[in-house]
């Protein structure tokens, strides 16, 4: 054990036994959110969408409905995990309350951001989620969590500053054409100049670059593995499986606004960023000796797949959306299970773990299932999604991108298997007795697995209708 961590652990605050009510309160809040969204989803026909709220500042359309369902379901699982761990946090009561409060504020900003019907408002909510998440990252247990949190805040703020610069370039373009731009998504397309000029091109390129960086796309990706590894597990899951989606929503909104405009350079930008990210992820996954970092690089690779899919456009639109939804559940499943492994073994090093399946049968099995889903095996949604994206790439004639994607995914598959499989099924150097796993922590993870299988085998008709509607909004069929 590292002496400094040992000292800090013994001298640090005692487990927050007095505020254990925080956990159930978080679960209750998450449950209320899921129930409300589910009721709205069931009671609202897709043909009634979009529904505008609060003087058209917010909108409930297919995109927001789909992502509300995803983020609130995932958060329910994360809140159950947090609730099961509150008693073991080495934090003072104030810090526990701060963590819970920031987590709730993060989710409020997420929900409002997903529903925002204004580009500037959406931008502000993405930044708000970052501001809430940075102090959460700073509560991590590495040696310099504040430095990591600062890097996260710096990269995110730079990415969002670049995005805002792009928005201003669009405004400048409209101004030079004698138009006043309307940032409401439902009116923005009509207020943009039809003839695309240099300012508009620059603005769109900057916006996609900035948002792409927020998604962890290369070249500005280095914050992602560092942050996901250093943050507390629940925060890593929040960032990877929840916050990721608000950036996806922003990209989808931009593509929806520019759908029908002549934006030939956009696919090239997305394709280059996607291919670069896959390559970087493949190299780094080969070098990773730490299972949490390995999952983080897998997140970079999934961002790459999404960018390549979006670059293809109509042929892969449905596949990309299926992939995004699947990725949210896969990332949540893997990070939460990784948190359980870290709590028991006390390390992130893959080589220090062997025979996990015998010590933690449920967590080991769920980690194996999550790894297979991550690698795109049937019968999970990610398998169908990857097939649809690959098929779209071939239809679009990008054979080099197809070859590169297949090669990099194969490398990632082999490298991940080489690290993870000995960890799960290897022979341990010393015997460890099996550890009892409370069913309540396993339940949400089983829910994630069921969702992943459903997405791969049978997508329920209402969800499928939502996916199709969103795919159509970005030019898919």
């Amino acid at each position: 054990m590292n002496p400094s961590t040992a000292t800090s652990a013994s001298a640090g605050p005692q487990p927050a036994g007095r505020v254990t009510w925080v956990g159930p309160a978080l679960v209750a809040a998450a449950l209320v959110a899921v129930v409300v969204v589910a009721i709205v989803f069931v009671r609202t026909s897709i043909d009634e969408l979009p529904v505008y709220l609060a003087d058209r500042w917010f909108v409930l359309d297919a995109t927001s409905m789909l992502f509300l369902l995803v983020i609130d379901s995932v958060f329910l699982g994360i809140s159950v995990y947090m609730s099961s761990r509150v008693a073991t946090w080495q934090l003072s009561s104030g810090q526990v309350l701060a963590r819970a409060g920031l987590t709730l504020a993060f989710m409020v900003a997420m929900n409002l951001g997903v529903m925002a019907n204004n580009l500037l408002l959406l931008w502000a909510f993405i930044e708000a989620t970052t501001i809430c998440a940075a102090p959460l990252v700073a509560q991590g247990s590495t040696l310099s969590p504040r430095r990591v949190a600062w890097h996260y805040l710096l990269y995110s703020s730079m990415s969002l500053a670049i995005t805002l610069l792009g928005i201003l370039c669009l405004t400048r373009s409209a101004q030079l054409h004698g138009l006043a731009i309307d940032f409401a998504f439902d009116a923005m397309a009509g207020s943009l100049p039809l003839a695309i000029d240099g300012w508009q091109r620059l603005g769109l390129a900057l916006m996609l670059f900035g948002l792409g960086s927020k998604l962890g796309l290369a070249p500005l990706y280095s914050w992602l593995p560092e942050t996901y590894e250093a943050a507390p597990t629940s925060t890593s899951a929040l960032l990877a499986a929840v916050q990721f989606n608000i950036s996806i929503v922003a990209v989808l909104r931009v593509l929806q606004v520019f759908n029908g405009h002549d934006t030939g350079f956009v696919p090239h930008e997305l394709l280059i960023m996607g291919c670069l990210s896959l390559t970087v992820a493949a190299v780094q996954v080969m070098a990773a000796r730490n299972y949490k970092r390995l999952i983080a690089y897998a997140c970079v690779s999934s961002s790459g797949v999404i960018a390549i899919g979006l670059s293809v456009g109509r042929a892969a639109a449905y596949g990309v959306l299926l992939y995004v939804v699947s990725a949210a559940f896969v990332k949540a499943l893997l990070f939460l299970t990784a948190g359980r492994l870290r709590a028991v073994y006390g390390t992130n090093r893959s080589s220090a773990l062997a025979g996990v399946i015998r010590v933690l049968p449920f967590s080991g099995a769920l980690f194996a299932v999550g790894t297979f889903a991550l690698l795109g095996f049937p019968p999970f949604g990610s398998f169908i999604a990857e097939m649809l994206v690959l098929s779209g790439i071939v239809q679009a004639g990008h054979l080099i991108a197809f070859t590169l994607m297949c090669t990099m995914l194969t490398i990632i598959f082999v490298a991940t298997g080489r690290s993870i499989f000995p960890m799960l099924w290897g022979q341990p150097e010393q015997h460890r007795p099996p550890v009892r796993e409370p069913w309540v922590t396993t339940l949400p993870k089983i829910g994630f697995v069921i969702a992943l299988v459903l997405l791969g085998v049978y997508v329920p008709a209402p969800v499928n209708a939502l996916l199709i509607r969103v795919a159509q909004s970005i030019g898919g069929h």
Binding site: M1, A134, S144, R146, L154, Q175, T233, G346
Partner: protein
């Protein structure tokens, strides 16, 4: 119109070429004042909205943000290095970037719009250069704020300021970003592990 723009650019360029980290809050204050001056020159102070935007710029960007940066730098109790490493190569690159930024603004309509675009481009370029050349968190925070100010200057090119609620929301977000950033930067550094895999964590911390 030219004077506040030159002041704005000088407040970004002088500290990067010649300044030290502890002098950065003063230059941020100067930049905030120049930004307020530009706003008044473009939009006047006649409407309530324009006055509110002017007051927000002065209070948030010229007073609160530099003060937070100053506190963060003081809390770190570190030596006072150059904001950007002083060497001929870095100076040459920075000068080239500034010239290129003004070339970027030149094809536009001309007059103060071209000058403003040049100043925005130059400040963004200098901020990126600073981020690339210095990995000390206070310098990174200063570079981020220079960039945010450049974006605010670009916003002043709009014929009408953004609606007040949007302006207020952006100001709050800016302020929170600076506050959280200053809090994170102000914490004293503990030794950093050379390889993340070397870190062994106490079992059952706050995983």
């Amino acid at each position: 119109m030219t004077a506040p723009l030159i002041l704005f650019l000088a407040a970004a360029v002088i500290p990067v070429f010649f300044g030290r980290t502890r002098s950065a809050p003063f230059w941020l204050l100067v930049q905030g004042i120049a930004l307020g001056w530009v706003g008044v020159a473009y939009h006047g102070l006649l409407s309530g909205h324009a006055f509110a935007a002017f007051a927000e710029t002065l209070v948030v960007r010229a007073l609160i943000a530099p003060q937070l940066v100053r506190l963060a730098i003081r809390r770190r109790s570190e030596p006072n290095p150059d904001l950007m490493p002083s060497n001929l190569f870095a100076w040459a690159i920075a000068t080239a970037l500034i010239v290129l930024a003004f070339e970027f603004g030149a094809p536009d309509a001309g007059g103060h719009h071209a000058l403003t675009l040049g100043v925005v481009g130059a400040t963004v370029a200098v901020s990126l250069m600073l981020l690339a050349a210095n990995d000390s968190p206070p310098a990174q925070l200063v570079a981020l704020l220079f960039m945010e100010n450049a974006i605010a200057l670009f916003e002043s090119l709009l014929p009408e300021p953004w609606p007040l609620p949007v302006h207020a929301a952006l100001a709050v977000i800016y302020l929170l970003t600076v506050a959280v950033g200053a809090w994170l930067v102000g914490a004293p550094e503990r030794p950093v592990a050379t390889r993340s895999t070397d870190v062994r964590i106490t079992p059952e911390p706050d995983a």
